[in-house]
Symmetry: C2
Subunit: 299 residues, 2 copies
């Protein structure tokens, strides 16, 4: 099933908007410390599917959020994602050499610079979220900053990575695997959606509840599909090392359920996500298309 042309145009336009913003606002490599600024740009620019930024914009349509705010939030969430990849690829963590079809940041710039690039990308995310106007109510903007900090921290993405480390080689139960991924991947995916909607006028509490249901389901679906792709695809198609979960003896959905059942589970999560969105009427269109794209992607 191919995504509709109109959705492809929309997503290309958004990723271009994001790329322009990042190019303009990431520190220039002509400013000292040059090598650090090069490493930061290398870790962020020209890469990835930009799923999180697309989620920010798609969720922004649910609440009619202005584009100026959405691009700042989308770029900040992507900085957090890019920093986590630069650190995750380090020899002390996953020790990976290939990412988005290119050498990983530490292979290109050395470990120390990859470490510092990750650190300063995280700082920059919080700088952007606090320096650009995101919402007419600054108290609401503070709440958005808090939400991204929690999603990145030890109860969110960083904590999920720690559980992943601690569990490598051990047998996780399905609920344990789910709990890990709801943090490791889910927290940032979920937060991208919630922050995108937050840039607009407040949702009703019923809308908020439904949106949270969609965000949870999609956060998990993303990882289930990732696990299946890691097991089924080759490195050239993925642009990152394939089969590494099995090689590292990591617990995955594909490994625990089998790929067939993992695929069924991802479709079930997609159904949940779509149902949660129904009450938004036509404003849900982009988020629904994006949910389809996430679950049906081939890389």
């Amino acid at each position: 099933m191919n995504p509709p042309d109109d959705f492809l145009r929309w997503s290309q336009e958004i990723t271009q908007t994001l790329e322009d913003f990042l190019h303009r606002h990431l520190p220039s490599p002509s400013i000292a410390p040059r090598r650090l600024h090069e490493a930061m740009r290398y870790a962020v620019l020209d890469g990835g599917k930009r799923v999180r930024p697309l989620l920010v914009f798609a969720a922004g349509e649910l609440s009619g959020a202005p584009r100026d705010a959405l691009q700042v939030v989308a770029a900040s969430v992507e900085l957090i994602h890019a920093y986590s990849l630069a650190h995750d690829d380090l020899p002390a963590m996953d020790n990976d050499v290939l990412r988005r079809g290119k050498p990983t940041c530490h292979v290109r710039f050395g470990e120390a610079h990859a470490l510092l690039a990750g650190d300063t990308l995280q700082s920059l995310a919080f700088q952007w979220l606090s320096e650009f106007p995101l919402h007419p109510d600054p108290a609401r903007q503070l709440a958005m900053i808090r939400q991204l900090a929690v999603a990145s921290g030890s109860r969110g993405m960083g904590g999920g990575q720690a559980i992943d480390l601690e569990s490598t080689g051990s047998l996780l139960s399905l609920p344990e695997l789910e709990a890990m991924h709801l943090k490791k991947t889910g927290a940032l995916i979920r937060t991208a959606i919630l922050l995108g909607a937050s840039c607009g006028p407040p949702l009703s509490s019923e809308e908020e509840r439904h949106l949270a249901g969609c965000a949870n389901a999609l956060g998990l679906a993303y990882q289930v599909v990732d696990d299946v792709l890691d097991a089924e695809m080759d490195t050239a198609t993925l642009g990152k090392t394939a089969g590494k979960d099995a090689a590292a003896n990591k617990a995955t959905y594909a490994g625990i359920m089998g790929t067939k059942q993992a695929k069924d589970f991802s479709r079930e999560l997609l159904r949940t996500a779509r149902e949660s969105l129904e009450l938004f009427g036509p404003r849900r269109r982009r988020l629904e298309e994006l949910a389809d794209f996430i679950v049906n992607r081939r890389s």
Copy 2:
């Protein structure tokens, strides 16, 4: 010259307030991921002179800032400092095994957990700054978050570390050394002072200018004294590996100027800092005592 008893009591009371806040608000090791939470607490608790938190509180007296806000800012600045030490000690950076008289975080918890502990401590700093009320005006609070993000990032502390890395083994001129340290150490020291004052009613523009002058001078003085101590003291006294700057062929004030001249320079900076504070009258007392303490410390 010993600091006055009254100053010692004040600083003990502040560090106790800080320690209590950190104990209460750092994630508990009884919550998953336990090992990560242990590593975060290990990197932050029971250690250091807490110079930056003391600066936050001392500068808060200049503007009559409330203690509730000051303790949040002090704790957040200390999280940034602690995260930078955990990362700086990693084998990919300084490869140090001793910090505050204890094994460094990666020696105790492994490299991956030290990396993640640093990452999640940074997130937590921005979480605290956005979730606790720091100022009646939330727009002012946003500006404070931005200030800490800039001080931590590639134009501040993180950038200073990158310049330090890039310059190891090469001969820095004195202006280059100063530029590096104004970022590496100076940015966070300076920001501790400015954020402390920001928690209270606004200063006049003349007061702001003088405070910035004091903050710049003290940020640099701290590093000059650090360089002299590294050259003169032994490891047991410092609680961290002594003589490592010379061993690593790093540019230092002691190395470039000689220790005698570096000491004179630190006293000159202290004089500048004290003069900048004069217009604050009696409210400057704690910050002045703390400036004396920073320049005259023996470890």
